[in-house]
Symmetry: C2
Subunit: 356 residues, 2 copies
C-alpha cells in the first residue's frame, strides 16, 4: 500500500480502467481491447485502447496473466478504483433495501442479533461476512443478580453496559436460603456494579470474599464466571463461508481449505480485525476501510479483499463488521453494505442497551 501514490490519469484512462474493472469483476475473464471497444462505448478503436492499456499496465494498475491474454486489474488498480473512481452512492439498490425490510425484526438476544447481522451482511454483499461481538474489556457491570433455582443451584445473571448478558448456573457448596442469596447479591452489587470488567482483579475479589468469609467458595466460583464473560464476549460470528469457497479463483487444490481453516481460527481473525479498528492517519475515523489483496497482513488472504467498518455503542467503538471476498469483488456494494449494516447494528445496540 506504500503510502497512496497519486496517479495522474487522463479522464480517458480512468474511463478505461473503470471499464476493465467492471468487466473483469462481472465475468472473471481477462478483458481485451476488442471487448472493451465493443461492449463499452468509449468511441475508440481497439488499437487506441491497446495503447492506453499498455500505459495503464506501465503504471502498475493492470496486469497481464500472460502475453496475449487480456488485462486484469492489479491490487494497485483496485486501490485506485476504490479510492478515486468508485461511485460512492450511499444507500442500497431497492432490491436489497427490500431484503433489509424483510429482516426488520431484530432479535433482542445478543448472540442472535450478531448472527442475524452476519447473515444479512453476507446475503446483501454476496460475500462471506464476519461480525465481532461487542468488546467487553472496558465494559462495566450494570446489573448483577443471584437467583435461587433449586436447593443446590443458583443462577448468576449479569448484564454489562455493552449488552453482554451472562447467565450461568452456580452450584452451591451448601444450601443457601433465599435471604442469604439476597445478602450476597446486595453485597456484590454494592462492590461490583459500575466496575469495569477488566479491572476486576482477583485481588479485589479476594478482598470481598474476606469480608464475606462465610461465602468464600461461592464467591470464588462467581468470580471465575464473571471474568469469563470478558473473553466470551470476544466471539466472532461468520456467515456464508460457502460464498468464498464457490469463487472460481480459489478452486485450486488446497486454497479453500486454507481459507476456511483461517476463518476457524478466531484468534487470528480477531487480531486482524483489531488492526482495522485502530485509528490511522490516512483514514477518517469511522469510515469503512478496504484492504486489497497483498495489502492484507496474512499471506493466506493475498487473493482476498476485506471490507471493514466499526459499530458503536454510545460514542465508543465496540466491534467490527467485515466482508471477505476475492479481490475481484463488488467493492461498491461491499462498502455500502458495511455502511448500512454498521449503522443498523449501532442503532439496534443503542436502542437495546443504550446508556440510560
Amino acid at each position: 500500500m506504500d503510502g497512496r501514490v497519486y496517479f495522474s490519469l487522463t479522464p480517458r484512462q480512468q474511463q478505461i480502467l473503470l471499464a476493465v474493472i467492471q468487466d473483469y469483476v462481472s465475468t472473471g475473464e481477462p478483458v481485451g481491447s476488442r471487448t472493451l471497444s465493443k461492449k463499452y462505448d468509449l468511441g475508440l478503436s481497439p488499437a487506441t485502447i491497446r495503447n492506453e492499456l499498455a500505459d495503464l499496465e506501465e503504471e502498475g494498475l493492470l496486469r497481464q496473466p500472460h502475453t496475449s491474454a487480456g488485462r486484469v486489474p492489479s491490487d494497485t488498480g483496485y486501490r485506485v478504483f476504490v479510492d478515486h473512481l468508485m461511485e460512492r452512492r450511499s444507500g442500497l439498490p431497492p432490491e436489497q433495501e427490500r431484503l433489509i425490510q424483510e429482516h426488520r425484526h431484530l432479535s433482542r438476544d445478543l448472540p442472535d442479533l450478531m448472527q442475524q447481522t452476519a447473515k444479512l451482511t453476507a446475503v446483501l454483499s454476496g460475500c462471506t461476512a464476519i461480525v465481532r461481538a461487542p468488546r467487553q474489556s472496558a465494559s462495566r457491570i450494570k446489573y448483577l443478580q443471584l437467583l435461587a433455582v433449586s436447593e443446590s443451584e443458583a443462577l448468576l445473571v449479569m448484564i454489562t453496559d455493552r449488552g453482554a448478558v451472562t447467565n450461568q448456573l452456580v452450584s452451591l457448596p451448601a444450601p443457601l436460603s433465599p435471604d442469604e442469596l439476597t445478602v450476597i447479591t446486595n453485597f456484590l452489587n454494592d462492590h461490583l456494579v459500575n466496575q469495569p470488567l477488566d479491572r476486576l482483579t482477583q485481588y479485589a475479589v479476594t478482598k470481598i470474599s474476606r469480608e464475606m468469609a462465610r461465602y468464600e467458595r461461592v464467591l470464588d466460583d462467581l468470580y471465575q464466571r464473571v471474568s469469563a464473560t470478558q473473553e466470551s464476549g470476544e466471539r466472532l460470528y461468520t456467515s456464508h463461508t460457502s460464498f468464498l469457497a464457490q469463487q472460481p479463483e480459489f478452486s485450486e487444490a488446497g486454497k479453500v481449505g486454507q481459507l476456511l481453516s483461517l476463518l476457524e481460527q478466531e484468534k487470528a481473525l480477531i487480531e486482524l480485525l483489531d488492526t482495522f479498528s485502530a485509528p490511522v492517519a490516512e483514514v477518517p475515523e469511522g469510515a469503512v476501510r478496504v484492504s486489497i489483496g497483498t495489502e492484507n497482513p496474512l499471506p493466506d488472504l493475498h487473493g482476498c479483499s476485506l471490507v471493514t467498518g466499526t459499530y458503536r455503542l454510545g460514542d465508543q467503538v465496540v466491534g467490527e463488521i467485515g466482508i471477505l471476498g476475492p479481490t475481484r469483488m463488488e467493492y461498491a456494494t461491499a462498502v455500502r453494505t458495511v455502511e448500512v449494516m454498521t449503522e443498523r447494528l449501532s442503532r439496534a445496540l443503542n436502542e437495546l442497551f443504550g446508556l440510560d
Copy 2:
C-alpha cells in the same frame, strides 16, 4: 442399503477386504494386488490375491475406478466393514484420551458447551462435527423471573428443564414498580412453570393476560419471547468444516462449495439428523449409526459418510452428535469418538440440569 444383505466371506476374503480398506483409507490411492501382498503379510502371492479381489468385486464390495487401476472399497464394502469387520474397541487411543483430559473443564453455559463439544469431536475424529443443541419442544419451564434492570426495561430470565436459559430484555410500556414486577413474576410462575413449552399456546396466554388485563402489553411481549426459545434451542453447532474442504476427493470444482452451503442450511441438517434419532428396527436403541455414501438421503452427501449418536437428558433423547467425512474415513475412530462424546455430553448435561 436394501436390508443388510449377508455376505458369506471366507476368512481370507475378510482379511483381504480389511486390508484394502485400511490401505485405501490411509493412502487415498486405489490399492493393487502387489501392494497388498507386500505390505500386509497375507502369505499370498499377488496372483492369488487378484483372484480373491475379482471375487470381492463380483460381490459388489470393491470397485475398480478403471481397468488396470487397483481396487477401491464400494459403499457396500464399507457397510460390511462397519457392520461385521471393524474392530469395536471401546475407548480411545491414549493420545486422544489426553486431549479429552485437557478439555476436562466443561463450560456451564449451554451454547459454549455445545461449541466445545463440536470442536473436540472434530479434532478427535479429524472430521467435521455437527452437534445439535437439546431439543426444547417438549421441555418444560422450570424457572421464570422478571428482573427490573432500569425504569423502562426488565430482564426476562427463563430456564427449561432441558437446560435452555433464555434471557431477553423486555421494554416496559410504562414504568413498573419492583412490586408490580414481582406480582407478574409470581403470577407467571403459578401459571407457566412446569408447562411444556410446545403446549404454551397463544390461547393460554391470552387467558392469562385477560386475568391480568393491566399488564396485557407486557405479557404479550413476554409470550413472544418465551415461545421463541423453542426454535432458538434447535440450533446447530458445526466445527472444522475446513477438514471436509481439505479432502482431496472434494477438490473438484464446485464440490466444496456445495457441501459447505449444505452445512449452512440449518433446516436441511436438522431434518437429516431427525432421521438418525428416530428409532429403527435394525439398530439397537442408543447405538451409534453410520450412513455411508449413497445411503445418505441427500444427494450432495453421496461422497460422504455420516456417523451419528444421540445424547440424553434423563431418559430422553434430546439431541445428536454427528461426524461428517468422506466415505473414505476412519470409521472405527469416528464411531468411538461419537460414543465417547455423546456419553460425555449426556453426563455433563445431567450434571448441569439434571432433574432434582
